[in-house]
């Protein structure tokens, strides 16, 4: 699969609801998940996946797959922070 044909990649957050994060990652890697980081102390991993695979990934039992979003503060001179 060439890069041109590939789906749009989205950044995702992986959470295991049964306490087995590494098994969750293994299962999701079959759907093409590319893991960026595994944060053992909080039970969360970050990674990247094809957008079209998200629905299939979310059907994996015991796993929550969420899109990684951006947080934005108001400008420094904004009246309300």
């Amino acid at each position: 699969m060439t890069k041109k044909k590939a789906d749009e990649k989205v950044r995702v957050l992986i959470t295991s609801s049964d306490g087995n994060l590494s098994a969750a990652i293994t299962a999701l890697e079959k759907h093409g998940l590319k893991v960026h980081s595994v944060m053992d102390a909080i039970g969360v991993a970050t990674g990247e996946a094809d957008e079209s695979k998200l629905d299939a990934m979310r059907k994996t039992p015991g796993v929550t797959v969420e899109r990684e979003d951006t947080v934005q503060l108001p400008p420094p001179d904004s009246a309300i922070q």
Binding site: R11, L13, I14, T15, S16, S17, D18, G19, N20, L21, H36, S37, M39, D40, A41, I42, G43, V44, T46, T64, E66, E68, D69, T70, V71, Q72, L73, P74, P75, P76, A79, I80, Q81
Partner: protein, 498 residues
């Protein structure tokens, strides 16, 4: 500390302007140390279950405060009972023999038990304040307890806002927020407590923080230092952990002035960050045994929106590791509490103004399952540090309210030894009722502890908290807390030889 404040405050409450009007309390007559009874903190739940637990566990017969007229439990009632359940605050006072106390203590480790903690009851005396308006403080406390009990028992509506006429303003000595939260009267320092602020970083060259213990880590890709090019993070750290006596000669604006500051830069100098950076910051703080994480950041959530599982997993893991996360409710006015403050295991902080009114911009509790406001703190015209060369500035927002709660949490952690969920319970059970609905301000206005010395010394066994399993609890060894220094013995003087 609530009722009758408007009219009484000027005359008696912590007056700095005139002599006290009542007879002084003879210090020598006040008892000290443990009372011999124990305070048992309970998980909220059905009363019958909680009473039965104590009966089955230790054979302790428990009366509930609602059994007494007007729920006015007196000292004689307590002395005459095995145990009194103060069901409205989830605390039980227990008169037990050592075997019974040991049985209760052993159940603290049982995750299914409704018992969260047990500690010795102590006589509480504000040593530092008996000479500085301490009687007024105690009287105000008494008023508040009385008022609270009356309102709880009679089912009276919350006092109307006219009862709360307190209007604070910055003085030469303290910001209005430190006065409103009683930080100005607290002897606690936050010493030994790690407070992690996840934000735009910190101005490491700010002259008010020279010599402070600071641990730093950047999670912004390509940015190796936490140096704050925005100003928001330096303001938040100023409020939560700023100095007792600012080098700039300005009024005190910081709360936990001896806490260890952990700076996690999770937002760029443009004020933006990704969930992954913020979660990495939480992971770092938990691994490095922060007791409190303060997050003045977030994104709006629509009506009907839910929390993110990743943040909830992180927050549960943090609580299990004795780390409490507080986060800004958001500035969406009459819209729901934002993310990640809308996680059930993250304490959502609303903002109030110097009249102790809910700030119009402060998001409100609309969504279920964590979307409620948990606590309120000063968040309008908050004076604090900012990056040089400005040095100080006023800011408003729930971003400013959040570090007030973080700093007060550090004082409560130091004072009580409590961590994690127990610290959460302590914070929300020691708030001041300021006469507005929980939808706006949660449990009320955060209040600093007077500073009770821990006796016997910490560590009390701090138990992991049972949550719905997302992953196994993480166990850390107890935090090394240095012993409380005892004053040196008086110099030995040989009596004159005869």
């Amino acid at each position: 500390m609530a009722a009758r404040r408007g009219s009484k405050r000027a005359a008696t409450s912590r007056s700095r302007n005139g002599p006290p009007v009542d007879e002084p309390v003879p210090i020598d007559s006040l008892p000290l140390g443990p009372t011999g009874r124990s305070l048992v903190v309970l998980r909220p739940g059905p009363q019958s279950e909680r009473v039965d637990t104590l009966k089955n566990l230790a054979g302790i017969r428990v009366a509930a405060s609602s059994d007494f007229e007007n729920a006015a439990v007196t000292e004689a009632d307590i002395a005459g009972a095995d145990g009194i359940l103060l069901e409205h605050i989830d605390v039980m006072i227990v008169n037990g023999d050592p075997g019974q106390i040991a049985a209760i203590r052993s159940s603290v480790a049982d995750l299914e038990s409704p018992i969260l903690s047990i500690e010795p009851e102590e006589y509480v005396i504000p040593f530092d304040f008996l000479t500085q308006g301490g009687r007024e403080y105690l009287r105000g406390y008494g008023d508040a307890v009385q008022s609270l009990m009356e309102r709880l028992m009679t089912g009276a509506p919350p006092m109307d806002q006219a009862d709360v006429e307190a209007v604070f303003s910055d003085t030469a000595a303290f910001t209005w927020g430190l006065q409103a939260t009683k930080v100005d009267g607290s002897a606690c320092t936050g010493a030994g407590i790690r407070v992690c602020v996840l934000d735009t970083g910190f101005d490491l060259l700010h002259p008010d923080f020279v010599g402070r213990s600071v641990v730093t880590q950047s999670f912004v890709p390509g940015v190796p230092t936490v140096q704050d090019g925005h100003g928001h993070g330096t303001h938040c750290i100023g409020t939560s952990c700023g100095p007792k006596t600012p080098a700039g000669g300005v009024r005190r604006y910081g709360i936990a002035h001896m806490a260890t500051i952990m700076v996690g830069k999770v937002l760029s100098d443009a004020g933006s960050g990704q969930d992954g950076w913020i979660l990495a910051g939480i992971n770092w703080a938990v691994q490095n045994k922060a007791a409190i994480i303060s997050m003045s950041l977030g994104s709006p959530v629509a009506v009907g929106g839910t929390f993110k599982a990743a943040y909830e997993s992180a927050a549960q893991a943090a609580l299990n590791a004795n780390c409490l996360i507080v986060a800004a409710a958001g500035n969406s006015a009459n819209q729901p509490v934002g993310s990640p403050a809308n996680c059930p295991s993250i304490m959502a902080v609303a903002a109030v103004d110097s009249s102790l009114q809910h700030a119009p911009f402060s998001s409100i509790g609309i969504n279920p399952s964590g979307g409620e406001v948990n606590i309120a703190a000063p968040g309008v015209n908050v004076f604090s540090s900012v990056k040089m060369p400005s040095r100080y500035t006023m800011m408003s927002g729930t971003s400013m309210a959040t570090p007030h709660v973080a700093g007060i949490a550090a004082l409560q952690a130091q004072s009580s030894g409590l961590r994690g969920q127990a610290l959460w319970n302590r914070l929300t059970s020691t708030t001041q009722n300021i006469g507005q609905t929980p939808q706006l301000i949660g449990s009320g206005l955060a209040q600093a502890p007077l500073c009770r010395l821990i006796h016997p010394p910490f560590p009390w066994p701090v138990q992991p908290i049972k949550h719905p399993p997302i992953h196994p609890p993480i166990h850390f060894p107890p935090l090394p807390i240095p012993p409380i220094p005892t004053p040196p013995p008086p110099p030995f003087r040989r009596s004159p030889q005869r």
